[in-house]
């Protein structure tokens, strides 16, 4: 390429890059952050059967950016006066102690095993796997039309003796 063309190319490039680099004024969140925020909210809008454990335990798997954001969101927070703790990559025998388990789409391979271990325990299962609710899961996070929405499978939720607040139900879709 000639020096002239190179200069033109660089000029166009700088113009494009620097124009588009101006941060947009409105607060924006990406998919990861919104999914983590939903998870965080579920702790307040779901009721677990008594007796309450001394701490609120979130369980999630690595290899998803959601876990990292979630750990920053819950840092120092409390649910009904109970401190929140995050357990990353829980062992199978630890799974039934979790209040919420997040199985990200990146870890689809462990889905069946995980659901098998927590079967019959009051643990809320959340995932962004596309057919999660058909596979025995409770809350699926779906991205449609640039919005994240929870899809709740009520039968799977009530089977685990959990109850969903009406406020959360109003902001969610109910799975058939």
């Amino acid at each position: 390429m000639t020096a002239f063309m190179r200069r033109i190319a660089l000029l166009i490039l700088s113009a494009i890059v620097c124009t588009f680099s101006t941060p947009s004024p409105a607060q924006q969140f990406n998919e990861t952050e919104l999914k983590a925020a939903y998870l965080y909210n579920f702790a307040y809008f779901i009721t677990w059967p008594e007796p309450a454990a001394p701490e609120f335990l979130f369980c999630s798997y690595a290899n998803t950016p959601v876990t990292a954001i979630l750990s920053r969101l819950i840092d120092g927070e409390k649910v009904h006066d109970r401190p929140i703790r995050l357990l990353i990559d829980p062992l199978p025998e630890q799974l039934h102690e979790c209040h919420i388990v997040f199985i990200p789409v990146q870890q689809e391979r462990v889905l069946a095993t995980t659901l098998d271990y927590i079967h019959a325990f009051p643990v809320l299962t959340v995932s962004d796997i596309p057919d999660f609710d058909q596979r025995g899961g409770m809350v699926r996070l779906t991205t449609e039309d640039r919005r994240i929405q929870p899809v709740i499978h009520l039968q799977n939720v009530s089977r685990a003796r959990l109850s969903v607040s009406s406020k959360l139900l109003r902001s969610s879709r109910i799975a058939e």
Partner: protein
């Protein structure tokens, strides 16, 4: 140039980083205080996967997920593609495949464009894909997107019959150590080692190494073929997400290996040992602007050298492209521009095979725009656009498309499309000069030339999708495609000399043709533990030579594609963390002499803990071995037979 680009990108990225450095915690505090209603109303700035949902695509699209790759039991990318409806996948020998979509198959099928993370692996030298060089740790492939039919408006020339895009996971999605190793009858040893880590919460990376050894197959007479492969590769990927709107990805790979093939010579078959190495480096910057508008800049460098008995080939490619998507009124527009520089060096090893120029530099420019317009709400979408390209062989090429999608409700959608795509001449078609001793005293001379034009295709598609509920979906497509200026080899007036007769052949565009077919795929989750997937395709083609054409080979393409193919896969989860998967593939006979074959694969997987996975299986259970493809005359590779194969594999993650 690359240095300049990188400095601009880093500078701008760093600039926006400094302005937002304190915003991180504040934005998290803000996120925490969002009410449920606000959460539902907030739009996503940067979607992790930009892919549209299947229902929204106005094209014959199919996606193979990471989980389907894992449960296929396949150990190579080309084999994984077998399940895609309408895609023809045939094994030529132990390390070569003939893969195409909608006809014109060959070991270097020239109408299918293949990309890895947006980097084209379609080689302009011979217009094809070296499938035996394409590999990746399968655990780190996020998905393989396949679009059948033309995709030239978005992806450029040579995306005539289809586009395959292999998309790898981000570094953040592949953290930790992964060790996988296995052995099979066909592949006595294969192994992958990957480590993913983070330098800071916004900057993740992974590095990997992979090694494969594939054994020789056998010919139909039972004798051993010379077609083994030894291939090692290593690579890395790093993703930097300084804020919610931006990502910067740098990735690269290197491979080095030897592979053999058996060539059919004038008098005897001879083994040909190929030595190959190559590498690439890719930089991609994406930024989301207000209202979900986005801009992407991508640049890569790709190098390959291939040493063979007949020819040494070295190629360097530099590519740079910019894409910008924005919304206005009821429109969503994407436009962009790109430049590709391709330089090759051919070293002749036989006096009989020469090229017009041993070294050639080719420049390719393109400009494209595509608009999605929803004039009456969401039920109707009109997608139209075009790509204008300039290449050094045929000049300007225009590749337009118009697509209409109608989704009357949540359960049905219908789409129709008309598109034009071109396949530009390869280096071989432009510059080849091959002498071949046809018989004692008779020599043929095949020559390429400047008069060879692009092959063109005008394609008409009609698709229907049915989603009665979330556990079942059906996707079906009808297509008809009209080809013009197809490649032929025209004999010229023989030259009678002292040593005998010389028959010159000129590569020309003296044929037309049409293809038509029906492709259908269904997916049914029968229960929580049981999932079924099936596909069926019916295909037909006819090639017609111009009246003045004397070509004898153009119609061979008709014999290289099966009329029918189907696949049925069942995925079953058993108690005790066991998985049982079965895959049944059927391919109809090929008119050129390959018999129809069934292939049954079974896999048993066990995950005793979340860190360990064991799998055992058998491929091609029903058959000792079978032939899948016979390369046409112009590719003198002797094909060998696909054998029954038992495998064991262990994967450890920690």
């Amino acid at each position: 140039m690359i240095g300049d680009i990188r400095s601009i990108l880093l500078l701008c990225a760093a600039f926006s980083q400094t302005r937002q450095v304190h915003a991180g915690d504040e934005s998290l505090d803000r996120l925490k205080t969002l009410s449920l209603q606000e959460l539902t109303a907030t739009t996503v700035s940067l979607a992790a996967k930009s892919q549209q949902t299947l229902q929204e695509a106005a094209a014959a699209a199919y996606v193979i997920s990471n989980e389907e790759i894992r449960r296929s039991g396949m150990q190579s990318i080309p084999e994984i593609l077998r399940k895609v409806p309408g895609l023809e996948v045939a094994r030529v020998d132990a390390n070569q495949w003939a893969i195409t979509s909608r006809g014109f198959n060959g070991a270097f099928a020239n109408k299918l464009l293949v990309m890895v993370d947006g980097r084209t692996v379609y080689d302009p030298f011979n217009s094809g894909v070296y499938w035996n060089e394409q590999d990746y740790p399968l655990e780190d492939i996020d998905r393989i997107e396949v679009i059948r039919g033309p995709g030239a408006t978005m992806w450029g020339s040579n995306a005539v019959n289809g586009v395959i895009n292999i998309v790898t996971r981000t570094a953040q999605e592949s953290q930790g150590t992964l060790v996988s190793a296995g052995a099979s009858h066909e592949e006595p040893g294969f192994g992958t080692l990957r480590y993913g880590g983070q330098l800071n919460p916004d900057l993740h990376y992974r590095v990997y190494g992979k090694y494969n050894h594939r054994d020789d197959f056998h010919f139909s007479d039972g004798s051993k073929a010379s077609d083994n492969l030894d291939l090692g590769r290593a690579g890395f990927r790093s993703d930097w997400t300084p804020n919610a709107q931006e990502t910067l990805t740098l990735q690269g790979d290197y491979f080095n290996g030897t592979m053999q093939q058996t060539l059919t010579g004038a008098d005897a078959a001879m083994p040909d040992r190929m030595q190959k190495q190559g590498g690439n480096l890719l930089l991609r910057w994406q930024r989301t602007l207000a209202n979900g508008n986005r801009v992407q800049i991508r640049s890569y460098f790709d190098h390959a050298t291939r040493q063979q008995m007949r020819l040494d080939h070295r190629r360097d490619t530099f590519d740079f492209d910019v894409q910008h998507s924005f919304h206005w009124r009821s429109h969503a527009t994407t436009w962009g521009a790109g430049y590709r520089f391709n330089s090759d060096q051919l070293t002749q090893k036989l006096a009989l095979l020469t090229f017009d120029q041993a070294r050639r530099d080719l420049h390719l420019f393109n400009l494209f725009a595509q608009d999605e317009w929803r004039p009456f709400g969401d039920a109707w979408r009109l997608i139209y656009g075009g790509k204008l390209e300039h290449n050094d062989f045929t000049g300007f090429e225009l590749q337009p498309t118009a697509r209409l999608l109608w989704s009357p409700d949540q359960q049905h959608s219908v789409w129709a499309a008309v598109s034009r795509a071109v396949r530009v001449p390869s280096r071989v078609e432009h510059d080849l000069n091959l002498l071949y001793n046809f018989a004692p005293g008779v020599t043929t001379n095949i020559r390429g030339g400047d008069s060879f034009k692009s092959e063109t295709a005008l394609s008409y598609e009609l698709g229907y999708r049915f989603f009665p509920n979330r556990s079942f979906n059906l996707d079906t497509t009808l297509f008809y495609c009209d080809y013009a200026r197809l490649s032929t080899t025209e004999p010229q007036t023989p030259i009678i000399g002292v040593g005998g007769v010389l028959i010159p052949y000129q590569i020309a565009n003296m044929a037309q043709g049409e293809t038509y077919g029906w492709e259908t795929a269904l997916n049914w989750r029968a229960s929580e533990f049981w999932r079924l997937q099936g596909s069926y395709s019916l295909f037909g083609m006819a090639i017609h030579k111009d009246p003045q054409s004397l070509d004898s080979a153009a119609a061979i393409a008709e014999g290289n594609s099966p009329r029918q193919r189907f696949n049925l896969s069942a995925y079953i989860n058993l108690p005790n963390q066991l998985e049982f998967d079965s895959h049944w593939y059927y391919t109809d006979r090929l008119a050129n002499g390959v018999s129809a074959y069934h292939r049954l694969d079974l896999r048993l997987g066990w995950q005793p803990s979340l860190h360990l996975e064991l799998a055992a299986g058998v491929q091609n259970l029903l058959d000792n071995r079978h032939l899948e493809f016979i390369p046409p005359q112009d590719n003198p590779v002797l094909s060998s037979e696909m054998e029954r194969n038992y495998y064991l594999k262990a994967t450890l993650r920690f």
